[in-house]
């Protein structure tokens, strides 16, 4: 349980930091970290399939972030600063939301959360390693392709794109 709490806390911190990061590349790295933590939560909850899929999807999400960043190019620094100011309120908003959930929704849904527990041995028929290396190897190669494509895209659009 403490491991879960630790992972979930890490996810919240990563998500906040990703949104508030000033450099796109930091945001992308934090988003990747968030996905890895979420995958870890799924693995520890005996759901290796979901964990592997989450790892794969995270690559897609990062590309969307690249695209969003690229779409901001040309709107000027003032636009980016104005946008960034809005996100300064985000931790406070998250805190208020958390308190409401804790105080109101928590007691209501507690019986439901207590009733639903992972079945013993569910998803444990194959280890995460077996799923990744034996069943989802083509996906792993695809993720490598996305990684190379992402690096090239960032290099093209954000790094060297101003030479013409």
């Amino acid at each position: 349980m403490s491991l879960h709490l630790f992972l979930v806390a890490g996810m919240i911190i990563c998500s906040l930091a990703a949104v508030m990061a000033k450099r796109t590349i930091h945001a992308a790295i934090l988003l990747a970290l968030l996905s890895i933590l979420l995958s870890a939560v799924m693995f520890t909850a005996n759901a290796p399939w979901a964990g592997v899929f989450e790892l794969s999807v995270c690559a897609g999400l990062i590309t969307v972030l690249f695209a969003a960043a690229a779409s901001m190019i040309g709107r000027g620094e003032s636009y980016a600063k104005r946008e960034a100011r809005i996100f300064l309120w985000l931790p406070l908003a998250l805190l208020v939301f958390g308190l409401i959930v804790w105080g109101v929704a928590g007691p209501v849904f507690a019986p439901l959360f207590n009733a639903v527990k992972p079945a013993a041995g569910a998803g444990a028929l194959m280890s995460a390693g077996d799923i990744i290396w034996k069943l989802r190897l083509p996906d792993l190669l695809g993720q490598l392709c996305i990684f190379v494509a992402g690096v090239l895209t960032v290099r093209t659009i954000l790094g060297e794109g101003k030479d013409e």
Partner: protein, 473 residues
């Protein structure tokens, strides 16, 4: 994924990593990309002959091998053309992108699982986005952003449908789904809904009407090799090929998809694209923009045949996919040559180019006639297959509309020919000269393929289409 398929992904990926470090070199990235793609094409032809006997998942191995050949053929032609036409700046990144997108497309067509297909679709989407906006021209960046937004929506829809499949069928592999479909013949509604959602995502990716808004801007503003790659093969792989896989599954639920509501809906989307593309192409004043609308129309033909899903229609769809890859790539190469020679692709801004650029004009004419389905060119046979399949299945109205749109295609291409290539040379092209061999060789190769595939169609039928039809039957 069959083990041989890894070759088509790993080798270009490794070569891309090398290319990325060769930005300061002019010739090295182009030579490396061309060698890798040529080797891939040769290996693809070998793999096709090895796969002909296999029939796991309903002919998918044959389909994958055939698509791999088309991908490598078009990618090689594009890389060759780009070696002469691409800007001298950042050539390493440019050719690296071409190699990664080729690896991504090979992954899509060789995937045996919808989740794997999704991962490689994302590879292709990222590379397409970067290639369209490669030189940071405002219009190309706008086209790229529009493409990415629509593509992201399609990806989200696809991911949603994959998660539904996972819950409903317990897996996402084609084999698992086939088994699930055969086991639930009595109640096909849930799978129809899930595959319908999936088909919607692929139609968006294919740029079919009404999800076409990104195609004219992207094709017009991207460099000609990139436009040739996008129109020639990318939209086919991420859209219509994936749609063919869905339609194959739908046809297991209800063979002769005429009675399947999802298949019928996809057919209507295809028909609307045929008409919309053909009618809008008439109005265009720019060569590349006209080709973009023409592509929407031709994608409609492939979609309508794929959704009909009879063996004849599937063979027609597959052959039209091959034909469209060759003639549309050739036309974009011609547009690139014209742009490089005259500085414009505006149809009304020049006339009589035939006198100055005879070879470009000749090869473009061959491609235009093939697109319109004029015999004996290859486009005639694929359109004949599609229209005959529609007629045979009882969709006579649709067959008539498809035939009418073919006449429209001939009309707008004749308008283009008369405006740009024929007539007395205008004053502004006085100093224009034919482009060099680097620009012309891919055009001549594709023109040769169009003529040869038309004249020797029985050979193509026996060796490429017949194995596919046999497996489907």
């Amino acid at each position: 994924m069959i083990p041989a398929a890894y070759f088509f992904i790993i080798i270009p990926l490794a070569a891309a990593a090398v290319c990325a470090f060769l930005n300061k070199k002019q010739a090295a990235p182009a030579i490396l990309a061309n060698i890798v793609l040529a080797c891939g094409l040769v290996f693809g032809l070998t793999a096709f002959s090895n796969n002909m006997g296999q029939d796991w998942f309903y002919g998918q191995a044959v389909l994958s091998s055939f698509m791999t050949i088309i991908i490598y053929l078009v990618a090689l032609a594009v890389a060759f053309f780009a070696a002469f036409a691409a800007s001298t700046k950042r050539r390493g990144s440019y050719f690296a992108m071409l190699l990664v997108i080729t690896a991504g497309m090979a992954g899509v067509v060789n995937a045996a699982d919808f989740f794997t297909l999704y991962v490689y679709l994302e590879v292709v989407s990222v590379c397409s986005y970067a290639l369209i906006s490669f030189y940071n021209r405002p219009k190309s960046t706008e086209g790229a952003i529009r493409y990415f937004y629509l593509s992201s929506i399609a990806s989200a829809i696809l991911l949603f449908s994959i998660s539904l499949l996972m819950v409903y069928a317990g897996g996402t592999s084609y084999e698992t789904l086939t088994a699930k479909i055969l086991a639930t013949q009595g109640n096909p509604a849930p799978l129809n809904i899930i595959l319908g959602i999936m088909a919607l995502a692929f139609m968006i990716k294919a740029g079919l009407f009404p999800f076409h808004s990104w195609t004219p801007d992207a094709y017009e503003s991207a460099t000609s090799p990139v436009s040739a790659l996008l129109a020639g093969i990318v939209t086919k792989v991420v859209g219509t090929y994936a749609l063919m896989v869905v339609c194959m599954l739908l046809s297991i639920i209800n063979f002769g998809i005429a009675d399947n509501p999802v298949g019928r809906a996809v057919m209507w989307f295809g028909l609307a694209s045929i008409l919309f593309g053909a009618l809008n192409a008439q109005e265009q004043k720019d060569f590349k923009r006209m080709l973009a609308y023409s592509s929407i129309s031709q994608m409609g033909y492939i979609t309508i045949a794929a959704a009909l899903a009879t063996p004849l229609a599937m063979a027609g769809a597959l052959f039209h996919m091959f034909n469209h890859a060759t003639f549309k790539a050739l036309l974009f190469f011609a547009a690139g040559s014209v742009k490089r020679a005259t500085g414009s692709t505006e149809i009304d801004s020049m006339s009589g180019l035939q006198a100055k650029m005879p070879y470009t004009s000749l090869t473009a004419s061959i491609a235009m006639l093939s697109t319109a389905g004029v015999p004996p060119f290859s486009g005639f046979w694929s359109k004949l297959f599609i229209i005959a399949a529609l007629w045979q299945a009882g969709f006579r109205g649709m067959a008539a509309v498809a035939l009418f749109a073919s006449v429209l295609t001939l009309a707008y291409f004749l308008k283009l020919q008369r405006g740009m290539f024929f007539g007395k040379p205008s004053d502004n092209i006085k100093n224009v000269k034919e482009r060099g061999a680097g620009f012309l060789i891919p055009c001549f190769v594709f023109a040769f393929i169009i003529i040869a595939a038309g004249l020797y169609f029985p050979l193509i039928y026996d060796n490429f289409l017949s194995p596919f039809i046999r497996v489907l039957q």
